[in-house]
């Protein structure tokens, strides 16, 4: 299989040939927090996922339009099955911080 894929990659840039296209992806599902779809204030969700705490499980960061703030959802599930419940706002020195959003 891998040899075959490699050959296709070498063969050229035809996306159909490499299978790198929209068909690469499963149908989208919304991420939940506390059983409800994550829904940020005034929309404009901007996600990022990284192991910020160094616990190997990751934190889901979601930026929002409302006040230009950033939500941090710690992964309360496992590494390969992330789950979310409550979030904290990104804070600096105990105070919520933001960037100009509009």
């Amino acid at each position: 299989m891998w040899k075959c894929m490699l050959a296709l990659v070498v063969a050229g840039n035809d996306p159909a040939a490499t299978g790198l296209s929209a068909s690469d992806l499963s149908a989208p599902v919304r991420l939940l927090a506390n059983g409800q779809p994550i829904n940020v204030d005034v929309g404009h969700a901007a996600p990022f996922y990284a192991d910020l705490k160094g616990d190997g499980k990751g934190v889901l960061l979601v930026g929002q339009f409302g006040q230009g703030k950033l939500r941090l959802y710690p992964n309360i599930g496992s590494k390969n099955d992330p789950r979310f419940d409550k979030f904290d706002w990104l804070k600096v020195g105990g105070a919520e911080c933001s960037v100009p959003a509009g």
Binding site: L25, R30, A45, G58, V62, G93
Partner: protein, 310 residues
């Protein structure tokens, strides 16, 4: 992203005015107050409004460069010409793919770098204001990336018509203004896609009685009239705003023109028509579909290559 190379993850973000903000990670989930990222000349890096930023070793130098998106939908590379623990950002360069400058659909580009095709080189993935996501394969090398023509990963979102009679969709679908993150979500060794959106969910068009339809029709007619009445004020506003504008004029002269132009919009006659127009909009609104905005995070799991190739 660990922009300062101290082994602790930092946060970088764009902003509506355009400046880029750096929150230095202090460990244990703590961050320092934001500072604006600057170039080697000490100027704030500002490459257009509605900026987005991603740090990646795009040129294979071992240092993190910046990929910046903006409201025009461009993708800019800001090369890091500093040392591993001391960034120094040089002059930005607009990125092209397949021989054309990259332009995200409806602007509002959000570029990120990831080895999406697992060939050991970073590729570029760009989300756009229309909700689309495009994959640009790196057909160059690690140190001299060259991008192939884009391949659509996620199609542009459809925007709802608030006046038509079609039933609302049963299921929510991803909206506009996509912002993305690529990560192996389920640990299967394949990169998956997270997409944040600005969505709109809406209900059915209200059933209108004959009386409602009459009111709606009249309101639309009055709207046209009020637009006609406002036009001369806007014409005068722009005339005053642009009258005598020069590229080299002093800031005071520009402010003076803006003040003179603003005077037109502060006139009582203008404000009266505008207040009337607001009321007309409220009336029309009653006959449109009810709607609400959302900002969800969508997960697109990557199918294993074998399944995708079928």
């Amino acid at each position: 992203m660990d922009l300062d190379g101290d082994g602790i993850g930092d946060i970088i973000t764009g902003s509506w005015p355009g400046e880029l903000y750096f929150f230095k990670g202090k460990g244990k989930g703590e961050f320092a107050a934001a500072v604006k990222l600057q170039d080697t000349k000490g100027k704030d890096i500002k490459l257009g409004s509605a900026s987005t930023v991603f740090a990646a070793d795009w040129r294979g130098t071992g240092k993190l460069d910046l990929l910046v998106g903006n409201i025009q939908g461009e993708v800019l590379l800001v090369p890091n010409k500093g040392e591993p623990r001391h960034h120094a950002f040089g002059a930005p360069l607009k990125l092209a793919a397949g021989g054309q400058m990259i332009k995200a659909g409806h602007g509002d580009s959000h570029p990120i770098a990831a080895d999406w095709d697992r060939d050991g080189k970073l590729d570029l993935i760009v989300a756009g204001g229309d909700g689309s996501v495009t994959f640009y394969r790196n057909i160059g090398s690690k140190t001299e990336p060259k991008l192939a023509k884009g391949v659509t990963l996620v199609k542009a979102a459809s925007s709802p018509n608030l006046n038509d009679e079609a039933p609302p969709p049963k299921e929510a679908t991803p909206g506009m203004r996509a912002k993305i993150c690529v990560v192996d979500w389920n640990g299967d060794g394949h990169l998956d896609l997270l997409l944040g959106d600005f969505g709109m969910s809406y209900g059915p068009k209200p059933k209108l009685t004959e009386a409602d339809k009459k009111i709606e029709k009249e309101a639309n007619a009055r709207l046209q009239e009020s637009r006609k009445k406002l036009q001369p004020f806007f014409d005068e506003y722009f005339k005053r705003l642009n009258d005598g504008a020069r590229p080299d004029e002093p800031a005071e002269a520009k402010q003076e023109r803006e003040k003179k132009a603003q005077e037109v919009l502060s006139r009582k006659e203008f404000q009266a028509v505008q207040a009337e127009q607001t009321k007309i909009y409220e009336t029309i609104r009653r006959f449109q579909r009810p709607f609400s905005y959302s900002g969800n995070v969508w997960l697109y799991l990557r199918k294993p290559p074998a399944a995708a190739a079928r």
